[in-house]
C-alpha cells in the first residue's frame, strides 16, 4: 500500500485513491480525421512500462482531483507528483 502525496490534500493512504492509467495520452482534438489504426492507438495501445512510468491518479475519497504521478513500476517507488496541466518533471 502506497502513501500518495495528493498535491491538494497532502499525504494519504492509497485506499483513498484510484489509478487512472498512463498519463499524457491526449484525446485527439479531431477524432473523425483519424484512421481506425490511429484511433486504436489512442483507445487501447499502452506503453505499459517496466520502470519509470508517468501515470494518472485521482483522490476519489478526498478532494476528487486528478493529478499525475511518476512511479517506478518495478518496485512501486513514487518519484514525483505534479498537477494536471503542469510540465512533467525530468527523471
Amino acid at each position: 500500500m502506497f502513501i500518495i502525496n495528493c498535491p491538494y490534500c497532502g499525504e494519504r493512504e492509497q485506499s483513498e485513491f484510484k489509478a487512472g492509467g498512463e498519463a499524457h495520452i491526449i484525446r485527439p482534438k479531431q477524432p473523425t480525421e483519424l484512421s481506425d489504426d490511429q484511433w486504436a492507438e489512442y483507445l487501447f495501445m499502452r506503453k505499459n512500462i517496466k520502470g519509470i512510468q508517468f501515470e494518472r491518479w485521482v483522490h476519489t475519497h478526498g478532494c476528487r482531483k486528478w493529478f499525475n504521478v511518476v512511479r517506478d513500476t518495478s518496485n512501486d517507488d513514487i518519484k514525483a507528483i505534479y498537477k494536471m496541466g503542469e510540465k512533467p518533471p525530468i527523471i
Binding site: 497532502g10 494519504r12 483513498e16 475519497h61 478526498g62 478532494c63 476528487r64
Partner: protein, 187 residues
C-alpha cells in the same frame, strides 16, 4: 403540513463518547476558481473562505470548510426551521455567484447527515476504521479532512478538543452509525 423525517433519531452515549445527529442544518456546496468568486462570497456572507487545505473558517452564523481547491461546504452554526427550506444564505449566494457566473451554489442540506461526536474516545473509534493519520489533526482546532471510515466517505471537522462534526451522505448514514455504535461498544 409535511413531516420532517431525519435518519438518525437516537442519541448514543458510551464511556468517553457521545454521538448524535444535529438537524436541521443548512449545508451548501459552493464551487468557484476565480478571485472574484472568493471576494463575492466573502462580501455577501462576510465570511472568508479558507484557502488553505484541510482547514475551515467561521463567522457568527456560518462555517466554511475546505473540500478542494475550488470547492467548499458552508453550513449553519445553529439549527434552522424544519418547516421551510428557502435559505437566505443560498439566495444571497445565488445572486452574487450563480447569477454573475462566478461559480456554482448547490443545496446539499439533506445530502449530508451531520453527526456531532464528543468525548476522549473519538479518535480511538476512528482508528478502528479509518486509514487517516489523526495525530496532528486531533490537536488542531478547525482542521478538516475528507477520508474513509468503515469504507464510507466522510468529512470530519474538528470543532475543538474532543469534539468533531462528521458528515456522511444520507443513504450511508444509518449503516455508518450502526457500525460506529458497534465499534464504540468495545472501546
Amino acid at each position: 403540513m409535511l413531516n420532517y423525517t431525519n435518519v438518525i433519531t437516537e442519541e448514543k452515549s458510551f464511556s468517553g463518547l457521545q454521538m448524535k445527529e444535529i438537524r436541521p442544518v443548512m449545508k451548501l456546496i459552493i464551487r468557484g476558481k476565480k478571485r472574484e468568486f472568493l471576494s463575492a462570497v466573502g462580501k455577501s456572507l462576510n465570511l472568508l473562505l479558507p484557502n488553505e487545505a484541510n482547514t475551515s473558517s467561521r463567522s457568527e452564523n456560518l462555517t466554511a470548510i475546505w473540500l478542494s481547491p475550488d470547492e467548499w461546504m458552508i453550513y449553519s452554526n445553529v439549527t434552522i426551521d424544519s418547516k421551510n427550506n428557502d435559505y437566505e444564505t443560498e439566495n444571497l449566494l445565488n445572486k452574487s455567484i450563480s447569477k454573475k457566473n462566478l461559480g456554482a451554489v448547490t443545496d446539499v442540506t439533506d445530502q449530508f447527515v451531520m453527526i456531532n461526536m464528543k468525548g476522549d474516545k473519538i479518535f480511538d473509534l476512528f482508528e478502528t476504521g479509518s486509514p487517516f493519520n489523526f495525530n496532528d489533526f486531533r490537536n488542531k482546532k478547525g482542521s478538516v479532512t475528507q477520508t474513509i471510515l468503515a469504507k464510507i466517505d466522510v468529512i470530519i471537522h474538528n470543532q475543538n478538543q474532543n469534539e468533531v462534526n462528521l458528515f456522511v451522505r444520507r443513504s450511508f448514514s444509518q449503516h455508518l452509525f450502526s457500525w460506529m455504535n458497534d465499534s464504540a461498544s468495545r472501546l
